[in-house]
């Protein structure tokens, strides 16, 4: 095994991890703030790229395409939100229904199961090609880091406003929120919309980065998002207490996840088994807090 081949692959892993970090921040909003596991993101993670690439192929400006992808993502969140609140479907099932429906929508947007975009012909914001040997302001890692910083700044502001605080209260204690006159259903829908908008934005960036949108690109996205959230919390949780730094930890969790994945691939693990590996890693990380409580809390003995 040649260690230098691992180093060569690292910048790519970091860039990809950062893009998934944006997606993971979206997952954080539903999973941690709203206390909902939203599975629609498996579909949204394709929709964003599909919208972005089809629009760019039709001649749209890259920023317009990104904005359109984000808005379509928010509409996906609206759909899941309506399933959940107006129709009373449990959140997990509502997400699965949206995800299933999106399969068809994504195919309709793309017209076929895969749509490519050539980095030489289109003015892409991020690309595999721009990771190494790219000037600073064109470098994908720099661009995505800037995206993340802006997103964190906006979310930090938003969740400090009256409306943002009421969304946090909704996720923390619904009874209390309603007793304080907060329309919790509206807030859940809004939270799902923001989350899916972020996921679609990440998807649009990922589509540009890899140069294509594919019907399968969102498969297992929720697991990667959760992994990033959990890894970020496990590693930086003791240091990062502030909301903005917590979001940063989630983005870094995405980077660490992809670095680890790269190492696993370098070690020669069968790539067909990667999804299994991903599922097991997330299962273990999700189990840690439970195990800690169950097996590692020492009974406190008071001597008198």
């Amino acid at each position: 095994m040649d260690i230098s081949s691992l180093f060569v692959a690292m910048p790519g892993a970091v860039a990809q991890g950062l893009i998934w970090g944006i997606m993971a921040i979206g997952v954080y909003i539903t999973f941690r703030i709203l206390d909902i596991a939203d599975l629609s993101v498996d579909g949204t993670m394709c929709t964003g790229a599909a919208v972005c690439i089809i629009m760019m192929q039709a001649g749209a400006n890259v920023w317009v395409a990104l904005l359109a992808a984000t808005i379509v993502g928010m509409i996906v969140g609206l759909a899941t939100g309506i399933f959940h609140t107006v129709m009373g479907i449990p959140a997990i099932l509502a997400g699965i229904l949206t995800q299933l429906g999106l399969w068809g929508v994504n195919l309709k947007i793309m017209g076929k199961s895969n749509q490519a975009i050539n980095v030489d012909k289109y003015d892409l914001l991020v690309s595999l090609r721009y990771v190494k040997n790219a000037i600073l302001d064109k470098n994908t890692i720099v661009v995505v880091v800037l995206f993340i910083l802006v997103i964190i700044a906006v979310l930090y502001w938003f969740f400090g406003t009256e409306l943002g605080s009421s969304i946090r209260a909704t996720g923390c204690n619904e009874m209390m929120a309603r007793a304080q006159g907060i329309n919790t259903n509206f807030n859940k829908v809004l939270g799902l919309m923001i989350s899916n908008g972020m996921v679609a934005l990440a998807s649009a960036l990922l589509g540009q980065y890899q140069g294509f949108a594919d019907i399968n690109m969102g498969k297992g996205a929720i697991v990667i998002g959760l992994a990033a959230v959990i890894i970020g919390e496990a590693i930086f949780g003791k240091v990062f207490k502030n909301f903005a730094t917590k979001l940063l930890a989630v983005a870094l969790g995405g980077v660490i996840y992809f670095i680890v994945l790269q190492i696993v691939i370098w070690l020669g693990v069968d790539t067909n088994l990667l999804k299994l590996f991903q599922a097991l890693v997330v299962a273990v990380f999700l189990a840690v807090p439970y195990w800690k409580r169950r097996y590692f809390t020492k009974p406190k003995k008071i001597e008198e």
């Binding site: 009256e162 946090r168 209260a169 204690n173 309603r178 304080q180 006159g181």
Partner: protein
């Protein structure tokens, strides 16, 4: 301030678990009334409070708060008029949020939540002063997460939140039942203080007959979803626990069964 007229509520209608919790219940509260509510388990005390708060729609009847018919409004819209403290100290506050954030949420009860900043600096001074009146030292811990507080502290905070924006009606659902006797007494003392200071119209459910007699200007006893006793003014002031027990037996034809209610 409150008019409940001919309220009916049946749970699980049409099943073997059918239970009529409120039966032709009518109650009118004058401005500034402090009413204590007693009654055995299943008498409909909490159900009455939930009907007022709008936890679910009632089957029949109407509820008017300060001249506005709220019968069809959902709970979060009625919250504009109501301050609520629940039996479980966990229910009234958001544990993962800071003390001052909880207060800021409560200050905006009944208002649209906008994109303005969630807590203004000048509010903090107000919160500090109000927390100081509780005498629990919370004024120095305003940025602590509420989850770190004890049950009594959380209940005192919930009480403050319920009254921060003056409610038309304060609903207290056995808000001291989960606390130890000393803390319960302290929270009750604070309740009296706030209710008298702000001249609040209040409905307080309690299991404790002594408390029901000692607090407020009016006492009602419920049984089987109805009010069976309504005592106010001078008559209430002279009331004793044995009077209450006697009246209960007279009205209901059975003995009062709960030791807890008698011994307190």
């Amino acid at each position: 301030m409150l008019q409940m007229s001919n309220i009916y509520k049946t749970f699980n209608a049409g099943t073997v678990n059918e239970k009529t919790a409120l039966r032709n219940l009518s109650l009118t509260l004058e401005d500034g009334d402090f009413v204590t509510v007693i009654g055995g388990n299943g008498a409909g005390k909490s159900t009455m409070l939930n009907a007022i708060a709008g936890t679910w729609p009632v089957d029949q009847g109407s509820i008017v708060i300060d001249g506005e018919d709220v019968t069809k409004l959902p709970d979060y819209k009625r919250a504009k008029y109501l301050g609520r403290v629940f039996q479980d100290p966990m229910t009234g506050t958001a544990a993962t949020m800071e003390i001052e954030e909880n207060l800021a949420l409560a200050l905006r009860r009944g208002q649209n939540r906008t994109l303005r900043i969630g807590i203004k600096d000048k509010e903090r001074q107000q919160y500090r002063e109000m927390l100081a009146t509780l005498g629990l030292g919370l004024e120095d811990r305003m940025t602590s997460k509420v989850g770190l507080l004890s049950g009594g502290q959380r209940q005192a905070l919930t009480l403050l939140m319920a009254t921060l924006k003056k409610p038309k009606l304060l609903l207290l659902d056995e808000h001291t039942a989960a606390l130890d006797p000393k803390t319960a007494a302290k929270v009750l003392e604070t309740t009296d203080l706030i209710v008298n200071r702000d001249h609040l119209t209040t409905l307080m459910i309690t299991h404790n007959m002594k408390d029901a007699i000692a607090h407020g200007n009016r006492l009602i006893m419920m049984m089987s979803g109805r009010i069976i006793l309504d005592i106010r003014g001078e008559e209430k002031k002279k009331l004793t626990v044995s009077d209450l027990l006697h009246k209960f037996e007279e009205e209901s034809g059975e003995e009062f069964a709960s030791d807890k209610a008698i011994l307190g």
